[in-house]
Amino acid sequence: MEKIKIFIEKAGWPRIIIGLFLLALFITAPFVNVNVFTSISDVLVRFGMWGILVLAMVPMVQTGCGLNFGIPLGIIAGLLGAVTSIEMNVTGLSGLFVAMGIAIPIAVILGWGYGLLLNRVKGGEMTIALYVGFSSVAFMSMMWLLLPYKSQDMIWAYGGQGLRTTISVENYWFHSLNDIGAFNIGDHFYFPTGMIIFFAIMCLLIWALFRTKTGTAMTAVGSNPEYARASGVNINKMRTISVIISTVLGAVGIIVYEQSFGFIQLYLGPFWMGFPAVAGILLGGASVHKATILNVIIGTFLFQGILTMTPSVINNIIQTDMSETIRIIVSNGLILYALTRTIKAKSAKVKA
């Protein structure tokens, strides 16, 4: 009994409830004519698509910048890379890497500016991140109309100017990462080996980074800024580095997402991309102040699992598509839980 209590306390109620819910969905699936193998395969694909975007949350949480609602900024860099690589007409895996190669420098520059801004607004990072994300998406919406891209696959068919809202990558680098070493088991199970391995490499890189000297300094800045300052760590520099890494991961993440999804979504597409990523890492057990790679993996799997399974299973049970509403309640409920919980723990500590 004691053990269960400790486990519950450690894992947190939301994670347990949603974990059990997901389990229940998997168990019910066969009874309502949903193929479990297809479902697992879908969850894996979505896991790979979202993994890096969720991973992008880690650096900023670790340096105390809070949840990066401003991830659309990184996504925009990724989108710029993606459309430019299509404009250059590079296909296959090389097209994907050209996209990343263009996106990363842009993300570094944007992230650097964003980092400088966040250093001036310590304490209010999250609200500001939210609006930096929103306003940059709106700004880029104008740019997508004005930028001089020419490729026939991307511009509006009739006007001849401005990019389309969704651009297919089918003829360029569709599934170029997914299909590396991908295999099928039976008719229904597909494993996107390349994408999962790429995600694993990214996780490993971030994991390794936090074991270097810079990484330790970054964690110190987040957990105890006064101590970090006393030991001669340049707080602002560490925070800026974390913001840059986060933005770069956002850029790489969206390109991986697109090659699997098959479409580039411009204009207001990136608007809400931050929320599933934030909800994902929180569901994995991260708080506003602490996040690990394990949180990313568990959280992405659980959250994407719920998103994949609810439409198919719940629809078949009650003949109603409630998935969108459930998604809204679950993801925002999680963020809300995290925002209201940590403060409690903090004030309790102060009292003690």
Partner: protein, 372 residues
């Protein structure tokens, strides 16, 4: 006024001044008639004033911009759905809608207040997410509950599948019932006098409220929670009350807003309300910590001139109205971002200064003790 004062005036009012300049540049480009613009501004003032004013009280209590006014808006919409279903017409319909939605607004406001008390120091982002969360619950009730668990008698309001409210609800019954109550026409411009009178009552209420015991308590809490608590003010309760009042006012505001528009987008009408009201208030020169009734008036006029004019101006400039469309979205978000950055920067600088002073004081104490 000497040089320094002028400089200070410009810095403090940078946002409104920027908007005035933008409007002066954009109005000729749009080529709209003056009369049309004045009529638009009258309509939009009547539409938005109540909502924008509902933001003021939480600012006094130091809780920042209450993105949670969408909660009140949702409550108001539930009231309107029932009134339309029962086909109660005119002013009595509107009053009934307010009466029905008031308790819902109070409950939602109370929930919001309690949640924000758990998130001190990040009220704004929390109230923002809270809006989304309650929006999910609202969808659950309106899209899946109504017509199934909650009885709705008229089939025309329900989706073809037999439950859930349609995307658009026609508010024919109460359209313009308040705006046209006291008809007044100056030149060719219709003035919704009754709505303005109601707004006037709200302004008087806000001015009076600031002077009451509760209003003073809120100001004290807004300045420093710890000092207020030591002075015997129930901090948490005061904060909850400020959010409840704001939510209830927003609920009435949304009903006024929708009686002016005349149709309700069941699942969208409330979503943008928070952002537009807040952007308007900030454009009027308010900040996260300070906002007044004139800010609301000026803000709505400036922000909405931008709104009316920018698609047209965009079309003349680059031949594409879509650009202007995106431009105003960019402006609304950008202006909120800018205001938040300025506010956070100021707080951060004050903190830094306090820390340096604390350090200096400490070092002088320690050097003295070394001497001793």
């Amino acid at each position: 006024m000497n040089n320094k004062n002028i400089k200070k005036f410009f810095i403090n009012n940078a946002v409104p001044i920027m908007f005035i300049v933008l409007s002066i540049l954009a109005i000729p480009l749009a080529g709209l008639s003056g009369e049309y613009l004045i009529q638009e501004m009258m309509t939009r003032l009547a539409r938005y004033l109540f909502l924008v004013l509902s933001l003021l009280i939480p600012i006094i209590a130091g809780m920042g911009l209450n993105f949670g006014i969408v909660l009140g808006a949702m409550a108001g919409q539930i009231g309107l759905i029932f009134v339309t279903d029962w086909s109660v017409v005119g002013l009595s319909g509107m009053t009934l809608a307010i009466i029905i939605s008031m308790p819902i607004a109070i409950i939602l406001g109370w929930i919001a207040g309690v949640a924000l008390n758990h998130a001190k120091g990040r009220e704004m982002v929390t109230s923002y997410i809270l809006g989304f969360f309650i929006n999910g619950v609202y969808q659950l009730v309106v899209l899946y509950g109504m017509g199934r668990i909650i009885p709705i008698s008229s089939n025309t309001m329900l989706l073809p599948r037999g439950y859930g409210i349609r995307n658009a609800v026609d508010l024919e019954n109460i359209r313009g019932c308040l705006d046209k109550l006291i008809p007044l026409k100056i030149g060719n411009v219709n003035i919704p006098l009754a709505t303005f009178l109601l707004v006037g009552v709200l302004c008087v209420f806000i001015i009076w409220f600031r002077k009451t015991k509760l209003g003073q308590d809120m100001r004290a809490v807004g300045q420093d929670m710890e000092v207020a608590a030591n002075a015997g003010i129930p901090v948490e309760r005061t904060r909850v009350l400020s959010i409840v009042i704001s939510t209830v006012l927003a609920c009435i505001g949304q009903i006024i807003f929708l009686q002016n528009i005349g149709t309700m987008n069941t699942y969208n009408s409330h979503e943008q309300i928070g952002m537009f009201s807040i952007a308007a208030l900030l454009v009027g020169g308010a900040s996260v910590a300070k906002a007044s009734i004139p800010n609301a008036f000026i803000g709505i006029i400036l922000f909405h001139i931008m709104f009316v004019v920018s698609p047209r101006a965009g079309k003349t400039l680059v031949g594409d109205a879509q650009i202007g469309e995106y431009f105003r979205v960019f402006i609304s978000y950008g202006i909120i971002a800018l205001a938040l950055v300025l506010h956070a920067w100021r707080i951060y600088k004050e903190k830094e200064r306090a820390r340096m002073m604390f350090r200096e004081a400490n070092s002088s104490v320690s050097s003295e003790s070394e001497k001793g």
